[in-house]
Symmetry: C3
Subunit: 461 residues, 3 copies
């Protein structure tokens, strides 16, 4: 068994069933009231733990999702872990006593980290605490105020515009007290203990399905798939982290300097359930934002793997905004971490609104994202440098049974080309990923060729 074999096993039926399963998991997590800290994050991690434990068998039970709690006030580089925020109840009552912007109805109604409040005020004063989207009057926007003490509510602009004058009652029955920041971590050890693949998703967004329940469930499915392998069958150690955005990634980096040093490849997972950046043109596909380094193996593996899978791919250079690749790619770390998404950060109309819901996220998109991530990991696992042991002219493949015997025929051509590419390029400097890039031959074919040549004694490492 190998990562490549896991990928090959993902046939149409397996994908269809996986998609339904993941969409159900998104649905279950959707109303959980997440924020930077608090019980919603804990509950989310607990559901993921349960999902992983309930389905997987064998090795997974030995590598559970561990939840870490970091007390408020802890230092992490330039940052301090904030107070923990939990909400019991939050709403506005209009002059007629009707509840509007009720947190119980939708988690986006309350500005994240709103301080406890109980007050009465006229509409004019209330307006300073309201947020809406004039150009999309039916949607509730997503707003937070993590690092400035204030409170506020979000509501559809159409509703806001129709609010009558009069006295309003406001309740934010929340606690903002010393507690902890929670994050989850799952490690699947591999053959090479010193080389890790980091897979990270942010766990802090409330009731938004694509951003980022999709990232959480895709990584969970990936962890479950990889857990089927024994440590010897995984070249790399895989480390999954489910962290609150920014502060969570910084806390993880601060607490795990050794892990950070071992990261040889990494991806930040987000927005993996929408139809993809090319959907309007009939080709969904993916978007990849390169690591800060720009030409790390992960950057090349993503392009090769998406090409091999036939997935359309948009690629853009690193920019220092987006998700937690900002932290992993800060100049003090400069880790080889990119971000593979469907439609990226901020570029779909439903982004950071109540329209990022259970309809935006599709079962087939979720399952296809798991397949895409497996494809990237398979390419990384298969990438090795070999040395042609018969480098003077081509070796005679025919007498080793590696060659079609009838010259001029077209059969076996693709297999033969892979053999020739690997032989010609394997000078100890270029690896299979280099060869895939230069030749267009799929990694899977190159890996097969390298195996056959190694068995025939023609290829060494």
């Amino acid at each position: 068994m190998s990562v490549r074999a896991l990928l090959d096993a993902l046939d149409d039926a397996a994908l269809a069933s996986l998609g339904v399963e993941l969409h159900d998991l998104v649905r279950r997590l959707y109303p959980v009231p997440r924020s930077l800290t608090g019980d919603g994050v804990r509950e989310t991690l607990r559901v993921l733990q349960e999902w992983l434990a309930g389905v997987a068998t064998g090795p997974t039970t030995a590598a559970p999702l561990r939840v870490h709690e970091v007390p408020s006030g802890s230092q992490a580089f330039d940052w301090t872990v904030p107070k923990e925020w939990n909400v019991r109840e939050a709403w506005i009552k209009d002059p007629a006593g009707r509840k509007i912007a009720d947190f119980a109805e939708h988690r986006l109604h309350l500005v994240g980290y709103s301080v406890p409040t109980r007050a009465r005020m006229p509409l004019a004063e209330l307006q300073e605490h309201l947020h809406s989207l004039p150009d999309r009057p039916d949607l509730v926007p997503y707003r937070t105020s993590y690092y400035a003490e204030s409170w506020g509510f979000c509501l559809p602009h159409a509703q806001r515009a129709a609010l009558p004058d009069g006295e309003y009652e406001v309740l934010v029955d929340a606690t903002l007290t010393d507690g902890a920041l929670s994050y989850g971590e799952l490690e699947l050890p591999g053959a090479s203990a010193g080389e890790e693949v980091l897979l990270s998703a942010h766990v802090c967004h409330p009731q938004l399905a694509n951003d980022n329940l999709s990232g959480l469930v895709v990584l969970a499915a990936l962890a479950r798939a990889l857990a089927v392998l024994t440590p010897e069958q995984r070249r790399y150690t895989y480390r999954f982290v489910f962290v609150p955005g920014t502060i969570g990634a910084i806390v993880w980096l601060a607490r795990n300097p050794d892990c950070a040093r071992r990261v040889v490849h990494g991806l930040v997972a987000a927005n993996l359930g929408d139809p993809g950046p090319g959907a309007s043109a009939g080709a969904g596909g993916f978007h990849y934002k390169r690591s800060r380094r720009g030409n790390a193996a992960i950057d090349r593996a993503v392009q090769v793997a998406m090409c091999d899978l036939g997935e359309p791919l948009e690629v853009e250079d690193f920019v220092p905004f987006g998700y937690d690749e900002r932290q992993y790619c800060s100049p003090g770390f400069d880790l080889p971490v990119g971000s593979l998404t469907r439609t990226p950060w901020g570029r779909y109309p439903e982004y950071h609104t109540s329209a990022d819901d259970l309809d935006l996220v599709r079962p087939d998109a979720l399952a296809g994202s798991v397949r895409a991530y497996l494809g990237v990991l398979a390419a990384l696992e298969g990438d090795r440098r070999y040395r042609n042991l018969q480098p003077y002219g081509e070796p005679q493949l025919g007498r080793r049974g590696l060659y079609r015997t009838l010259g001029g025929d077209d059969r076996g051509r693709e297999r033969e080309l892979a053999l020739l590419w690997v032989l010609n390029q394997s000078d100890g400097e270029r690896g299979l990923l280099d060869i895939a890039e230069g030749s267009g031959v799929p990694m899977a074919r190159l890996e097969e060729a390298a195996r056959a040549l190694a068995e025939a004694g023609l290829l060494g490492s």
Copy 2:
């Protein structure tokens, strides 16, 4: 005050008034009979001296335009300063005694460096000394014969074709005697005495407005603007040279080896008054010819600055013909000197003809060229490498008042992006110009961000 502040002060009203002023200066210099040497060059430099002295106040008076005289016969590398040429009178009289091709009417009528002549000859013999443009029959071409002793006249082809047979009288009442080559030089010292910016324009062309009175007046205006700053407010020392083409630049290089070694950036200024290379398509803009090095800071600064100013820009690689960048970029010097022009050398139909006149050169184009040059200099002055002092993850901008406090909002976005770019890229290797190129964020925003971050203790050098 800074170069960037000078640029920011150039608002529409300032540009309009500057344009009129510069066009008046072109008009005043237009009929002065310039050549490689002679009193016309001296008069041109004197007018520029007067213009600079008459308008500028303060520091400029301490850094006047100095005129240097280099005697005929002086050696400069492979060259010898030629004899000085001055013309009192020059014309042809047709068989009816009517003057044609009269130097008094237009300086282009006489081939530059024509030797003294008084003769009578039939039309057939005269023809060997005439130059015209059959495909543009109404224009007088520009011709010189600096390094071969001969004489000649230029006239419209239509006029030439209508010349009757008969005896013609020719007068070239000129002197070609030992004298001197004159050039002008103006130095504005800066904070870094060891690093100079060279700004060069050729001063030898007679009655041609765009080529190169436009270059002379744009550099004069630039010198006047920079003179308002104190030496401490200028990062670089600025050296303006107004030299006869080729021989003048070579003489300057031969006499100033120390200056040449200090040149860290440079531009050759010419053709800066026409509407620009994209004028026929409604976008005038500029043309930039890269330095021989091809990726010097000046080459990158021009592209960034023109982009920031919204000026369309054509860019081409170095070629060893054109203006005095040929000399500055000769392999023995290989200075980082490019050439920023409106329509370049030889590519506008009026080039080197009597149609390069006061109508071709426009006030707004002249003033816009000063703005463009200031933009380039501002980018060069602002380009520095910094080091992020909190490079592990992002520093917390919020508690330092550097960040919009309400997550999810769009306000302050541009300012925030500049902060993030500078923090992420400042690893001591990449400077602001690199960041501008990679990010598309204007240099001015990056400079502001770097200042704010340095004040907050987050950025060092």
Copy 3:
């Protein structure tokens, strides 16, 4: 005399006569029954020897085409020289006793290296030994079985489909016995004994005109042309090898390690008689496959030379299949050898079928290919690095008679530009080929300029 002079002498009349002569030579070689080994290869090499000896005079007689015989069973790296194969007679007789697929009629009817056979069998059994092209039912395909002992016949699919049931008689009256592999080699020594240009063509294909009689006759014509020069007039030693594909090139490499080490440039010649890859669009031209190195001098010289000749050129990166560049570019050798062809390997519809005949190959295409190869060699011979001995500013070309004397005129412009390019770029690092690539100035103009500048003492080496 020089290679460039040979090229210049190839005017239209010379090309026309050369084309006819080469097509006659192709016609003469067409029916000779070539294979990997055997008397057909010997006869082919003998005809080339005779053609070279019969026409050329002088130096060529001192450097004849030498034929080497390498015994069956000899080792060459991973390979063993196979038994020698010769055919006396081969055919199938249908149930009515009529001969079909008769080797006497067309050499492609018999699968190469078919083992001796005399048998009777029903059609169903015979079918397993037949090869045809269902999608091109009128053509005979080319098939070989070098390294698996079997026999077979090739015939038009239309004929095969119409074969009646019944008993067929098969005769392969051939010998497959210890003998030798034959190849030809011709060396033209040059001034620099330590630097060789390798020109290689495969000699093993039976009755196929473009692939590769065209390659053989073009190289023969090239050898004859270069033989006119004295060794002092050739910068490089030229080594022509006419080898059976794959095994022949490997044998040559194994027996000539010193030659291989001396190869500084090389080309594999094939498919040089068809109208060219752009023929259907009205521009025939050439195809070039780069060496494995990708930016060797040969790779650059081909592009410059084809541009200078006005020949359209397709270029592709190295791939490890095609002709014997596979062997020369194996990682143990990695020689700077590309392949310059008309339509390349496998991309014309007649490829490896009986339609690759005397009509596909055209006299003008053959002669034009000789011209193209001469152009490439001229560029390689002319490429040198110089050093500008007056690198501080431009030297004064005028007083050395190297410059048009009348400024502003357009005459002599191209010659002057070549002078300026060579002067500006000759810093001891960049050679004429670099300058040609950067400037677009033809190599011939740059070589002239360099000569003139060297004579004037302005350029050293």
